[in-house]
Assembly symmetry: C2
Amino acid sequence: MALIMYDLAGAQANRRFSPFCWRIRLAIAHKGLEVETVPWRFTEKAAIAFSGQDRVPVLVDDGKTVAGSWKIASHLEEKYPQRPSLFGGAVGIALARFVEGWNDNVVQGGMVRLILIDVFAHIHEKDRAYFRESREKRLGMTIEQACAGREERVAGFRSSLEPLRTTLRLQPFVAGESPNYADYIVFGSFMWARSTSPFSLLTPDDPIYDWRKRMLDRFEFALQALGYDA
Amino acid sequence: MALIMYDLAGAQANRRFSPFCWRIRLAIAHKGLEVETVPWRFTEKAAIAFSGQDRVPVLVDDGKTVAGSWKIASHLEEKYPQRPSLFGGAVGIALARFVEGWNDNVVQGGMVRLILIDVFAHIHEKDRAYFRESREKRLGMTIEQACAGREERVAGFRSSLEPLRTTLRLQPFVAGESPNYADYIVFGSFMWARSTSPFSLLTPDDPIYDWRKRMLDRFEFALQALGYDA
């Protein structure tokens, strides 16, 4: 039986933009498994109440429900050990946690103030009030204020990516010769941007730009997903 | 035959403060090997000319010379595979590169402007002109200017450590249940500070403070090394 994943969608049902859901779609592809995704909007809490919490990704695997990207990745690694490893062992798991901490703070945290206004433009009508209120409360400013001056501020964002750039000058993927969950964490954030925003986060001379292209070339469903080639 | 390592020293021969040399002393201890360290100063280029370059650490292992912290760590891992692994496999090596990129940019790069004036105070008389000139050229300002206002700026440094903090809330070491080279990279920077500076980089309520203590408790020679308990 194919896996079922509840996947955040925008105004268009095939606009899938959650960075956490992207991590899992890539992890599932890494394992060579098939998944059926169910489009889900922020306010459809009832549809995933069976998972005991109110956010996606939610995975249903042969009757077992798992929620949250890290827990789902761990589940996939444990349940399908004979398939390509997502982490490369105990040290790989521990260091992927560090990559996650860095990504969520620096990459995803930095992108919020560059693309949130574009994310908002693609939110489903019924989610718009919820999205604005929850994000503005978290940021302490309006969505429009959060993204003001982004043309000037993007230089600081690019500079903050230097640790990733240094790594990708030495090896083709974060995890070495081929990508693993550490790459999917970071690439998931770039898919969040790609699926919602025409704003250019990277310049073509950046090793990170080349890495993003290598990832898109490897994962056809990411390359073909509804979004912007920015 | 014991390993021999050329190790940066200050005005006092037993003040060892190079973060890169610390990484290797910890890596050697991890492998359960013995090392004889040779105190070395910046201007003693002739003493390590045999290594074909002019910086430490330089390791001499049974007649073979290896220079540079990453190359030495790789050498130790390859030459002593039956001893505890420094990296935990291919993915561990690749992700340690990312930790190195982050540490060198954020941790060590951030510490420069907080402790350099204290490092300078411990430099050997014959290295002082070289040290001041090379560092001031790199920074584009005097050592004194670089460290001005550090009491106010340390908050920004602490905030920049959030990815490490997030990781250490989830597990005792960067590499998981026990430390490996990823920990030694970051801890080497903290040993650079400990061996030269009374300035408090961390607050006692910080998970990173606890990790640093765990590392000191594990490596008696680091705990006992000449320095400051800041």
